[in-house]
Structure formats: C-alpha cells, structure tokens
Subunit: 314 residues, 2 copies
Amino acid sequence: MITVLAGGVGAARFLQGLVQVVAPQEITIIVNTGDDIELHGLHISPDIDIVIYTLAGIVDESKGWGIQGDSFHCLDMLGKYGHATWFMLGDRDFATHIYRTHLLRQGWSLSQVTDSIRRAFNLEVRILPMTNQPVPTLILTDQGILHFQEYLVQRKMQDPVKGVQFKGIEDADPAPGVLEAILEAKGIIICPSNPIISIGPILAVKGVREALRKTQARIAAISPLVGGAPLKGPADRLMRGLGLEVSAYQVAQLYQDFLDIFVLDQIDQNLVTKVESLRTQPEQPLRVIVTDTIMRGLKEKIELARRVMEELLR
Amino acid sequence: MITVLAGGVGAARFLQGLVQVVAPQEITIIVNTGDDIELHGLHISPDIDIVIYTLAGIVDESKGWGIQGDSFHCLDMLGKYGHATWFMLGDRDFATHIYRTHLLRQGWSLSQVTDSIRRAFNLEVRILPMTNQPVPTLILTDQGILHFQEYLVQRKMQDPVKGVQFKGIEDADPAPGVLEAILEAKGIIICPSNPIISIGPILAVKGVREALRKTQARIAAISPLVGGAPLKGPADRLMRGLGLEVSAYQVAQLYQDFLDIFVLDQIDQNLVTKVESLRTQPEQPLRVIVTDTIMRGLKEKIELARRVMEELLR
C-alpha cells in the first residue's frame, strides 16, 4: 500500500501520474481539509474535490479546479440575492457541495461523505480527509485574520502574511484510517503541495507527524518549489511571511525529521549537497533525486511518479 | 389594500393581470406553503417561488414554474450522486433554495426569507407565507401516504386519492400579518387555484377562515374549474377522491360561508342560478359574475382582474 499526503492542484496532477504506475486500489490519499470553507450554507472541501475531479477526469484542466465546461448560473443568481460570489462554484460543482452538506447534516462524517463521492466516480483509490473535524486555516495579515480562501481567492494574496493558524488543530483527531495508512504503508509520498497550508495542516493533526517518524515505510517528498518559486499558489508569500527561506531546501528542512527521499527539479541541481546535509546519520541518509518535476503533460506526470516509486521501493 | 389568497400557477397568472390594475404596493398575497418540500437538504417553497418568478417576469411561461432558460446541470450531477431527480430544479432556481435554506438555518422565519427574495426582484407587492411552520400536504392513496409533490410530480397523479391531510395544521400559527391582511383589507380575492390543496391549506390555518367570515371586505373567488375540469393540475382527482362533485358549483360551496362574489367562466353560465342559491339571506347575497376566466394572454389576465376589482369595490 502506498500512502500519499495531498493538497490541491499540485497533488492532483502528481496523482494522475501515480495511478498509471501503481494500481489505484493500492493507493491511500490523505487530503488536507484546512482550506475547507462554508459558503452559502454549504460545506466545501476544495482539496478533496480537486483530487476527486482530477482522478475522475472531469476537472477543468486549465484552472486545475472545478469541473470542465461547468456553467455558473446558480452562483450568478446567488449574487443577485446579495451573496458574495468571489469563490467560483459551477453548477455541477454545487451538486457536490449540496450532496456533502446534506449528508453531513444527516450525521455522516466527512470521511463517509468523501468515500461516497469517490464511489460515485468509480474511483478505486482510497481518499481520506486528514480529520473529520473543522480546522480552518487562518492567515494573519495586517487586514486582520482571514480564512485561507479569503486570503487566496477573495483578496488575491495581496495582504502581507504575518502568521498562519490551524484553528482547532490541537483538538482534531485524525480521520479513521489516517494513522494506520501511514504506519502500515509500503511507501509514503508527500505531494508537491504547499508545505505551509496544504501539507502543514496534515502534519499538525494529532499523531500524524509521530506516525511519519515511526513508520517503517520510506517517505519521499517532491518539492513544490522550483527555482525558488512555487509553480502555482502562495507558498512563497506564506513562507516569507513566516520568516522562512523560499527554497526547495527550506521545504526539505520542514520535513527533515521524517524524510528519506527528496525530489528536486533539475533547476535546483545546485541544492543537492545542501539538502543531503540535512541528515547526517549514515545509517539513515537523506537521498536526493534530481528529475523533471514540472509535469507539463501526462507523460511527465507518469515519468515523475515512476521515478519516485522506483526510489521508494528499491 | 387588496388581499389575495394564492396557490401556484393559476394564482400567479391572475396576479400578472392584477398588478396592472391595482398598484402593487396595495396588494398583499397570502401564499400556500402546504406543498413546500425538503429535497437535497434544501427547503423548497414551490408556490411562493412561482408567484415571485412570475411577477418578476422570469418564470418559464410554458411550464408556469421554474426560471425561463434555466439549465439543469446541478440536478443532473445530484442524480449521479444517487439523489432522486423527479422534482425538476434548474441551476438558477437552486440558488433560491440554497439562499432560503441558508437563512432558515440562521434562524430567519420563512416570512423574512420570502420578503428578502421578493426585494431581490424589486417586487412591490407584499408576499406572506400562510404560516412559518411546516404543514406538509399529504395525499392518502392505496400506495400509502405521499407528500403532495410525490403524488403530483413523482407519481404523476396516477394513484387514486382516498384522502388529504395537512400535517400539523392544527398547531400552525398564521404568519405575521396574515390575519391583519384579511381583517383590514378593502377587498379580498381567492385566486383560481386548487380549492383542496392550494386554497384549502390557507383556509385551514388557525384563525384564517374566521377572519374571512369576520372581515368587512368583500370576498371574490374565481373558479379554477371550467366546464367541470381544472385548466391544470389534479383538482378533479382530489375532489373526486374526497367524494366531492367536480364543478365550479362545488368550489363555490367550499367557500360559501365567507364568499360574496363568485366568478364563473362563460362555459359555466348554466351554473349561475345554482351558485346564487348557495346564499339565501337577501341582505348578503352571493353575486355571480360570468366572464372569460381562461387567461390566454396578458390582455385576458388584465381584463379578468379589472372585472373582479370592479365588482369587489363597487
């Protein structure tokens, strides 16, 4: 069994390759829910939906989220009723949130709802929310405390970041199966996702970091930063705001207590020695792989997944 | 002030004429909520929406309900998730139900939500749900007890009707303003709506029938049955199931304890004397008007409204 820690778009793109290299029923994906948000009275799980829509082949590839060819009539009408419409939700996408919210209100857990949505798309991977409790990621800015989606989508990352909080994380239990998936895995992959607000919340869930340190499986992480910048999203602004260096090296450092393999893009070839030096015990070295991580098309996604799996299981 | 008791399609069509004859801000519409239903976890108020969409000029005129040109992507997707899709809800229409449900869950009353939706369309009429409490209309059939929408839409009126129940009606208070609108009206109009399941629930709300008997205002009703059949909907099946004659005369009889004016279609000219005989006190006769009630276009709607208003206020 291969266990994957995933955020949104970057993770979903990597997973498109992985399911071509590893049998889907062998894959467990633990997904960040820190950027879940309630809008229009509906529970939205952006990262879970991005992963599912992508693996189902219906994602809007150009944006990386939402459903391809979706229309926006419902949202337009909600705007007429005075609702904020900065978070783009298509008509087909709304069905997912209506369905999820309905089941949650009937007492289902987010795990159960997620599994039900997965099955509706005949996906054979296992998809676990990191926790079934709400743990909203809050961004501290000089405009006050913003929900991560407000910071990212509504205010378009314009506010200097002063801090990040995962509200309620200390009381959040890992969802059923999360710790087992880490402890019993044959290999673990940290997707090229934002280390602060995609992977960060997963690592902060009670017991997850400890399980990663404890597991017998090798753990590989793919750097989401290439040449000192993210391919997409606000990782640079968040890292800078937290006083961190914006580099692949810094990402490896954030994971250094459990990491076995770190995957750098060719552009970051010069960082190999520096990253390797993060782990000095000869019996458990940190292996650094240099490859093409940019995943322009399916071929590159498969090649990256193949390369990671090769190192993970060798 | 003119107060109108309204169901769905027939009422909405009559109201399109009435707002051309009476200043909208002088009109209070008390709307049936007995056919409200929760689907997909959303609160749907079909009659209120039909009235609002019609007066807002966005109703799908060919069907009489829903929004013209609406798409059905959200519903299709909910079908993929296994939800029943027999109740057609368009993408724009979904916004209304999402908005209503969100406000109801925040503690708003149905009155407040309805007023907010009305204002979003800049309607100047006053629209009151008959009650803010749920009073689902149940149809007793040999298939068991069905919600009215299940009977009408899902099972297409195929089941012989054995009875009708307004569940919880004995505990339902009239919504704020309902009794006052009847007691203080200058004239009252009962729309050409189904007497059993559109007007019936309104009359069954605590105090409404008494207020109609007590009010100083004249009360006019337009027959929804023409030539012994409804123009639309299941009035005939329901009346037959309850052992009632399917005729305009029977409708007048259902209202006879408060009615002053009854409007018959020309086709039912032969019923004039019979309907008049329902009230024998010479000091308070039942006046019967014969006119064209079929409302093919706006001209006919206006003409009918003008004729009713003329009798009501003379």
